[in-house]
Symmetry: C2
Subunit: 333 residues, 2 copies
């Protein structure tokens, strides 16, 4: 590997001069600069970032730690990237193992320290694990779980979103709406969405029957599909489905289609996240838009503030949502 010292020797100057030329820190004479640049070209020198990081204490890199590279997180990451780059830093994605146990083990605190800042998606992390993360490193948490007070945190208006979607379907005639992917469990990640569904039902004078809260084995389309098929087979009457995510909604749509149920004629369907695909899947999936751009801006903004040395109290942002009505509910385009 060609080092800065090699360039210095070739150009007949000291290493500091090479450093100064490359980083434009201290002024360097024109002729000297030219000789240095020439040597750099000739030897094909590239700075060793690891060494720079050690000495400078900065990496100019931000990590976005996600549970999986799929779907929602992939789309969110694409929003985050340009914002981070706009401040002259790089963004890298790291994946935590799917299971909570290994999570902070595989992705140790030591590892997080190599970044100037970290956006940490907390799906799958429990409070206790999180509380153990004590570091001065700027961190912003994203996700729908409760988190320790002292962390900056960006979450969605889950309850409000679920309420919007459910109320919309009720207004358009549904009377028995499933909460697909929700769980009766109070500490569950999707609790707020279930509560929004419940409230919307109650406000309309409908029962929020626990039998209509249908958990899924996992938050995939397959999980949604299988849960949906089970409900259909059970004979439980329903005329609307609020799915906790668009991915789950897609599984439900698939099951409904296979069972000869028409959307939105027989059953209205609404999801959450408003993924890119939801707009295009016939008849268009009505979905709660989480304003990924806004979430990304809030998170990166908080992170940037911390990285700039802000030491005020942590902030807990709830990103507003809105309902995008499409063909899977009546009155949609």
């Amino acid at each position: 590997m060609v080092r800065m010292a090699d360039v210095a020797r070739a150009a007949g100057v000291s290493v500091m001069t090479v450093s100064n030329v490359l980083n434009e820190r201290l002024p360097v004479g024109e002729s000297t600069r030219a000789r240095v640049m020439e040597a750099v070209e000739a030897l094909g020198y590239e700075v060793n970032l690891t060494a720079r990081h050690l000495r400078a204490g900065r990496t100019d890199t931000v990590a976005f730690v996600v549970p999986s590279f799929h779907d929602y997180f992939g789309e969110l990451a694409d929003q985050v990237a340009p914002l981070v780059e706009a401040e002259g830093r790089h963004l890298v994605l790291e994946r935590t193992s799917a299971n909570a146990e290994q999570e902070m083990e595989a992705l140790s605190v030591a590892r997080l320290r190599i970044y100037d800042g970290v956006l940490l998606s907390v799906a799958g992390l429990d409070l206790e694990t999180l509380a153990r993360v004590r570091t001065a490193k700027p961190i912003v948490l994203l996700g729908e779980r409760d988190v320790p007070e002292h962390f900056n945190h960006v979450r969605l208006a889950n309850e409000s979103g679920a309420h919007l979607a459910t109320a919309h379907m009720i207004e358009r005639g549904s009377r028995r709406i499933l909460a697909l992917g929700c769980s009766p469990d109070a500490t569950h990640m999707m609790t707020d969405r279930r509560v929004g569904w419940e409230n919307a039902c109650h406000e309309a004078g409908l029962a929020a029957d626990p039998a209509y809260v249908v958990p899924v084995s996992d938050y995939t389309s397959l999980g949604g599909r299988e849960a949906m098929l089970k409900v259909i087979a059970s004979g439980l009457p329903f005329d609307g489905v609020f799915a906790v995510t668009d991915i789950v909604a897609l599984g439900a749509l698939s099951a409904l289609a296979d069972s000869g149920l028409r959307v939105p004629g027989d059953v209205q369907l609404a999801g959450f996240d408003n993924l890119d695909m939801s707009r295009f899947i016939p008849p268009g999936i009505t979905s709660v838009d989480v304003n990924r751009e806004g979430v990304a801006e809030a998170a990166v903004g908080l992170l940037h503030r911390q990285m700039s040395g802000w030491t005020g109290p942590a902030e807990h942002v709830v990103a507003p949502v809105r309902l995008v009505v499409r063909g899977s509910t009546r009155g949609g385009a």
Copy 2:
């Protein structure tokens, strides 16, 4: 920050002993080890990975460089991650700018050097840019463009896949099949898929009319939808659509549905990539399955070989594909 030296002082030993305890390199006496561990706990010491990287020359990290975190690459990355982790390394994703110009500028060679190995997706990179990348770093390229001989490369059986999909639709009755997202341009990334479409047409005694090669503005569902709408508006008669990717196929499906054309009754539709969602989008999108797991294994395998010091000639793997028949073509489930 608490350093190894602080731990050493607290435990009354030298830094090397601390290092030896933590890395289990040289044997350390039981009582000494206990004292060291105690000090580590008490001070909450975490190793500084940057310093270790500089000294050790390894980062135990592999980068997967993708054009975007979306869709295909997100799903592929999720396949790659466990394979990399199985060898005791970390995987991080880096995104190149969408445009080819900045690509290797934003993501400099210097940056790639901080990784022990790099999987580089070449969508959007041109040969010339690529040829400038001269480094001893283990690199494996992924993607459908031609690349310099000396790089290891994993690509898909594009022609064969397009052929399979097209021939299948012909067999099931289509006579006028659009090649959506293909380009007449010979150097184009999607050339092989167009050729597969052409060959399948010719073999069936059908014309591969250039008018049926319909480019898209970009490889998104919106791009696919708009191109599809334009074709429908033009009145060009067709009864089948081969879309270059599932994302584009989804856009086409959306346009067809909005135009009252039934799939597969009026128009058969097939895509490429077999994304997770394609299985669930009613009526199920027939797609060329690219065996992401196999691609991931091949790529990581080649990379691993290079990282282990292999210096034989570069390998160019063509990953086999197969057709998954679903409801968007006749005879599908």
